[in-house]
Symmetry: C2
Subunit: 520 residues, 2 copies
């Protein structure tokens, strides 16, 4: 019986021919996810006139309304450039000429340098890099449940990040809350620098911690201070305190990173209806103004310092005030942010993530929606693309794995699609008779082992087989995978004993000196 | 403690101000998802030269290799147009002139007419319509588990389809396997025509069943035969039997629908490595050839008959032969198919779906990936966008609901994004002081009730609240939602008692005559 041509054609599907001796046809699949170029045309939500109107209004916000800057040194830098500063109120009014000069000075492209050239990542409009969920206070997995982040948990996420080439930068996935804040940066930087050869993330928590962190990067990379400042070797995430405020550690980070030639990823976190206007255009106007002010501070601190424009705007649930991610409004905000970034010509970051509390269909839906929004917006760097759950309050190790299926799929979509004579395969079509199948034909046998992306966690078996195997959902299957990846972690070749020892010596000395207290 | 600027800013998120009297600011949100235009620039995987090469090779396949056509009447039609036909082998070799004439005759746009003008759906390049999962042999839900499709189950899916404006066409979600095949089309057509005012789907299972189905549409729409054939009022899905074969009922459907002025949705189902070459370009070459042959048959049967080009190409798991959906290869095939459809200038269908066996992160990931592929490919009609699981062998009622979050999000993305002076909100930005919030400002109060898409099933509460409420995942929450939608179904106003009675009388007469046996 022909139940349904599409759904019920199961017998044809089951029909197959393949070598039973375990050999693979054609040779194994080779993938290179390390430096991606975004293959999609940028999508837009605004006209060019509207983009210009948002940019002009943001300039007017900075000129007429001003921005509160808590760090006196930062206000002094703005003042020296000609901005109007009122120290009592900590307000700074920034003229459009200052912004224009800063935008002229900011580099359109730069390369973040890893421990080895294979981990270098170019940042410019058109490149595409992913980063895992970062900085969550909690971690959760199916074995141990939800709990506060620890250094051990951060080590697990670091090993997962290192494992996947499609995650381009290192970061602490969760906050090591079991380490004293005056010493935490030593542990977290050591972790990033010894588990991975990718570019590490430095938390901007005061001048002393930043100085220590830079020193650790220099030690592990074997660089003089001049060599270090000559090229980006690490990065920091700078969130303004929307609306219209830059706090002490954020301003400190912008200044110190710029002076050291290291990039800040400037990211106002403007939730529509909460810290920003309820409209997409209004939230982006505020976000853009704050980003311009922060970018200006980097360029006033050191003209030409690498910097990423950033935007992370979503909406809140107006019934509860809860932040929402993966919403249509977030996608629209991402697309608009991409237009503003291209208006400036700067590389920029966006984000993907979910507000779900468990790794379910909502979690996947929200993460995929926001990730597609970021990709179609032409984001250079997409943060939080794996594991980010509860709106960033937890990293889920199972979601990390299931999200990587998405991230790797994006990486696959960056690969070219062959359409030469061999790929068009007229001869194979001739070889297979009407109603036959291609499982055994030469064209298939030569290619089948490398033809398709091999999934991480997807189970494509039929319902009967899947049920016999225990009926496990994707999260249940993901547990074994993250456990195996963590267990099989190998120290990268670039992490040598002498440097690890030098790092340990530095940390021992600084710890004996009392570490570096958190500044806020 | 500043745990993390992005993830840990929970206190700011919880801060909010809203009216406590239940009134809504600004007025309720108005949405119109009924006739969508695709807002995204079409993404591509091939150069124009490569598209031309695939098209040329497909023409060569039809000219030199031919296609097997099982229905003698169809072969006669091809022969009369000048094709070379060999009745012994049932092979037809179709010259490129025949294809060119057919493509010249096929309309670039047409309107599928529902029971009321509000259900009319325009089909052309640039419009965007979604359809639910269709024709699955099984149904599954959390209450009753997985079981064979029945008429009662089809009624549930029909009520869900009718409920959501973002599902633009009616179809039987599951196969009513409890109804004798000679009578099933009466029950299924009656179901579609009485539960819904949307355009119904007719299964092409032989001339008599098609004739009966057309008559039922005429009765319910109050149309003469001439009025019926003057405009599309229903549609059928035609799957070729890849590779290179069109079976009896499919050829019958192509002919009879064209003669009645009703559209066929021509869809080769070309799984790479199984029924088609293992390469994307090869699978699309075969798919394109088969689609051209089928489109030609419609235009030879009645020049100018409405028809949709179609493509549904994904890959199989080469280890097991199992079909896979939502893979990078499927997305690439969709993008390439869109290029081929635009090469022809015809409206076209694509699909979204998943091979997962449960409504988990895999199911959502695969569905979102394939849906985004179809949207970015510029598909006019996206089938299987809600509920389709197990590669089409089941409809999951919970997945139906969670998928609708995605479909409605796409519909929201089709809506314009305001960026006038009021939306840019300079005055609101001025009103809110640095470090303050926008919850209570006038700009927010005027808009908050209608500013954002309101989710169907997403739960944005924090982990504590979510846990207190029972810690339900999206699928568990979806159960109550589909149950409510089904329970609250109301018969559309266009479904009047006199027409329902006329339909019942027709069905009674035809049933007494023995119905219409399935032809295959």
């Amino acid at each position: 019986m022909r139940v349904t041509a599409e759904g019920g054609d199961a017998s044809a599907r089951r029909e197959r021919r393949r070598p039973r001796d375990g050999t693979q046809g054609g040779g194994a699949r080779h993938t290179d996810y390390r430096q991606l170029r975004n293959p999609f045309p940028a999508a837009t939500v605004f006209s060019e006139d509207q983009v210009e109107a948002i940019h002009e209004t943001a300039l007017k916000v900075l000129e007429e309304l001003g921005i509160k800057v808590l760090l006196p040194e930062a206000r002094a830098i703005y003042r020296a450039a000609g901005a109007i500063v009122e120290d009592d109120s900590q307000m700074v009014w920034i003229g459009r000429d200052i912004i224009a000069d800063a935008l002229a000075a900011a580099p359109r492209a730069f390369v973040l340098r890893g421990a080895v050239p294979g981990r270098d990542i170019e940042m410019k409009l058109g490149t595409l890099a992913f980063q895992s969920g970062a900085g969550a206070p909690n971690i959760t997995d199916r074995i141990r449940g939800r709990r506060p982040g620890t250094l051990a948990a951060a080590e697990q996420t670091a090993k997962l990040i290192q494992h996947f080439d499609a995650l381009h930068l290192m970061c602490p996935g969760v906050e090591a809350q079991d380490i004293d804040t005056a010493l935490r940066h030593y542990a977290v930087m050591r972790l990033q620098l010894t588990v991975s050869d990718k570019v590490p993330c430095v938390a901007s928590r005061g001048a002393a911690q930043i100085r220590d962190s830079f020193e650790m990067v220099r030690i592990m990379r074997g660089l003089t201070e001049d060599e270090f400042t000559a090229a980006p070797r690490c990065y920091t995430i700078i969130n303004t305190n929307s609306p219209r405020q830059i706090d002490m550690p954020m301003a400190r980070g912008l200044i110190d990173f710029a002076r050291a030639g290291q990039p800040s990823v400037v990211t106002p976190f403007c939730l529509m209806g909460a810290m920003a206007p309820v409209t997409v255009a209004g939230a982006l106007t505020l976000s853009h103004a704050e980003a311009l002010a922060a970018i200006a501070l980097t360029q006033l601190s050191r003209p030409g310092a690498p910097v990423l424009y950033g935007a992370f705007s979503s909406n809140v649930d107006m019934k509860s005030g809860a932040p929402a991610f993966g919403t249509p409004e977030e996608v629209k905000a991402s697309l608009g942010s991409g237009q503003l970034a291209r208006h400036l010509g700067l590389p920029w970051r966006n984000a993907a993530g979910s507000s779900a509390n468990i790794n379910d269909a909502q979690a996947a839906h929200e993460t995929e929606m926001s990730a597609w929004g970021a990709v179609l917006a032409g984001a250079t760097l997409i943060l939080h693309a794996a594991g980010w759950i509860e709106g960033g309050l937890s990293i889920s190790l199972e979601k990390f794995v299931t999200d990587m299926e998405m991230v790797q799929s994006f990486a696959e979509l960056c690969m070219p699609t062959a359409a030469d004579e061999a790929a068009i395969a007229f001869d194979a079509i001739r070889e297979v008779q009407p109603g036959g199948h291609f499982f055994g034909c030469a064209h298939t046998m030569e290619r089948y082992a490398s033809a398709f992306y091999e999934p991480l966690v997807a189970d494509w078996s039929n319902f009967g087989t899947w049920t016999e195997r225990g009926g496990k959902d994707a999260s249940e299957r993901a547990t074994a995978l993250w456990q195996r990846i963590v267990a099989e972690h190998h120290r990268p070749a670039s992490v040598t004993d002498d440097r690890v020892e030098a790092l340990a010596a530095f940390i021992a000395r600084r710890t004996a000196e009392g570490g570096a207290p958190l500044e806020s």
